[in-house]
């Protein structure tokens, strides 16, 4: 996959991967946001399971 936004250095400004592709940039951003949210969701799930394991049943 060729993600380079430039083919030469003359007059270059933004040159980060996918800088030329609004869709690609936003998609990457959405995946990043999902990773952060997903990690918190996973952590919550993991905590709840462990708390149940270590908490005495009434």
């Amino acid at each position: 996959m060729n993600t380079s936004p430039i083919t030469q250095w003359e007059g270059v400004e933004a040159y980060f991967t996918l800088a030329h592709s609004g869709f690609g940039t936003v998609l990457t951003l959405i995946v990043s946001v999902a990773l952060v949210a997903g990690a918190i969701w996973y952590g919550t799930h993991h905590e709840s399971r462990d708390f149940a394991k270590f908490t005495k049943k009434p």
């Binding site: 040159y15 990043s32 952060v36 708390f51 908490t55």
Partner: protein, 456 residues
């Protein structure tokens, strides 16, 4: 002759371009190393927080601290930096703020923009610092993921909104009231302290902190030496933090964030004098090395708002007084039934408030630029109230919602056993120290509430 003049002109133009690029690169280098030094603040908070925990919670405290950094940084990229650029006028979106949106061309490698990345990184570290301020206060009983959500709200929303309002060249607190706070005593420390206070009220004290009659017990840190070294690391990191508070202007004098002329020398004079003053104030009041170092930090925070203007002995006096007062504030908070495990509200909240107030008391009349009002006691008081409310209200409200959902605090049994046993797959001290879970879980004690378990 004409040819010689042409060549001379070309050489001058080349020299100017070279000099300009050197200045730009020097600016980048300056903020790069400020940011690197600020990482030391987090090393310090990590050591401080783990040391302040009991052995049964030490790794959970460390994990929480590491994750605060890890979650605040990306969320600060997603929306924190944009908030700073969008809301200096209050709640209206400023023109040009779209360049701070996370998909903007400035928010990544860009040969036409040497500044955004290093400034963003420095601010991201400020953001992580605010989250770490809360982190220590809530140890040993907060649910990790609840804390992470609160850390994101504090680090990537609340403090940076306060910074847009009062730590920005066109922030409304400065344009309307002449607010002066060069070292971020208000938007970082006061806001984080107030937010933490709101969370602590809903979180409640650790089991065993208070007796049935409401008198407090000391829950001792498992390693005071680790906390003291951690505090010293925080102080080292503060030189990066405060360096990041002054604006490097290529080829011209430094300015503070409000555009007033300043020097890094002024910051150096007053930071060092205030650090010394805070330690002395803490020593006179407590003779306790934990508080002496905490008060060294209070000293710097209390002088931070006016680091660019203080006569150094003035910074010293302010810091001595603040260092003397902060432990009294911590005692008052403890007596009020609020368990702040590391004194964060006193150190950062009260220290930040004293810093903001000190400028109003002792630097009133100091001129602003571009027709903005001069520094005044009234302006500092208004700004202090705004920042305290901006920190406290969301901290209290969001943690109250979490509490009502049963999401804020770990279950009683888990707290008694220790968070490391439940949440962390490795042991902190497998050969030397054991988790004190068994003694605490003795019959008659295990079902008790906050008053049932005597402090260790």
């Amino acid at each position: 002759m004409d040819q010689q003049l042409l060549e001379l002109g070309q050489k001058v133009a080349a020299l100017e371009a070279s000099s300009a690029m050197s200045n730009t690169v020097n600016m980048e280098i300056f903020y790069w190393w400020c940011t690197a030094l600020m990482i030391t603040i987090h090393a310090g908070f990590l050591a401080y927080e783990m040391g302040a925990s009991r052995a049964k919670n030490v790794l959970a405290a460390g994990t929480k601290n590491l994750l605060a950094f890890a979650f605040v940084v990306p969320t600060f990229f997603f929306f924190g930096w944009w908030i700073y650029n969008a809301f200096p006028g209050g709640f209206t979106i400023a023109e040009g703020s779209e360049s701070a949106l996370p998909w903007a061309s400035a928010m990544g490698p860009n040969l036409a923009d040497n500044a955004t990345g290093v400034f963003w990184a420095a601010f991201a570290l400020f953001a992580a610092t605010t989250a770490s301020i809360m982190s220590g206060a809530v140890i040993e009983r907060i649910r990790l993921t609840a804390f992470l959500v609160l850390a994101i709200i504090l680090g990537s929303v609340v403090w940076i909104l306060a910074a847009a309002w009062g730590w920005h060249p066109t922030g409304w607190l400065t344009t309307e009231f002449g607010f002066h706070d060069v070292g971020a005593a208000g938007c970082v420390h006061l806001v984080a302290g107030a937010f933490t206070l709101g969370v602590l009220i809903n979180l409640g004290p650790r089991i065993g902190k208070y007796n049935a009659d409401g008198t407090p017990n000391a829950i001792k840190a498992h390693s005071v030496p680790l906390t003291v070294v951690g505090l010293m690391l925080i102080i080292v990191g503060f030189f990066g933090f405060l360096g990041g508070c002054i604006i490097y202007n290529s080829g011209a004098q430094w300015t503070n964030i409000f555009g007033q002329p300043a020097t890094l020398s002024a910051f150096a004079f007053n930071t060092v004098m205030a650090f010394a003053g805070g330690i002395i104030g803490g020593w006179v009041k407590t003779r306790d090395p934990f508080w002496m170092m905490s008060c060294g930090l209070v000293g710097i925070i209390s002088a931070a708002s006016g680091l660019d203007v203080w006569y150094p002995p003035m910074a010293f006096i302010i810091a001595v007084v603040a260092g003397f007062v902060a432990p009294m504030v911590a005692n008052a908070i403890e007596k009020a039934g609020i368990d702040d495990a590391v004194g964060a509200v006193a150190v950062h909240g009260a220290g930040g408030a004293m810093g903001v107030l000190a400028v109003g008391l002792f630097a009133a009349g100091y001129p602003n630029i571009d027709g903005m009002p001069p520094v005044s006691l009234f302006g500092q008081l208004v700004s202090l109230i705004v920042m305290a409310a901006l920190g406290f209200i969301p901290g209290y409200a969001i943690s109250a919602v979490m509490k009502s959902a049963g999401y804020l605090r770990v279950p009683h049994d888990v707290e008694v056993m220790g968070l490391d046993l439940v949440e962390v797959p490795i042991e902190a001290y497998p050969e030397g120290m054991t988790r004190p879970a068994a003694p605490i879980m003795t019959p008659g004690i295990e079902t008790g509430g906050p008053a049932a378990v005597p402090a260790e």
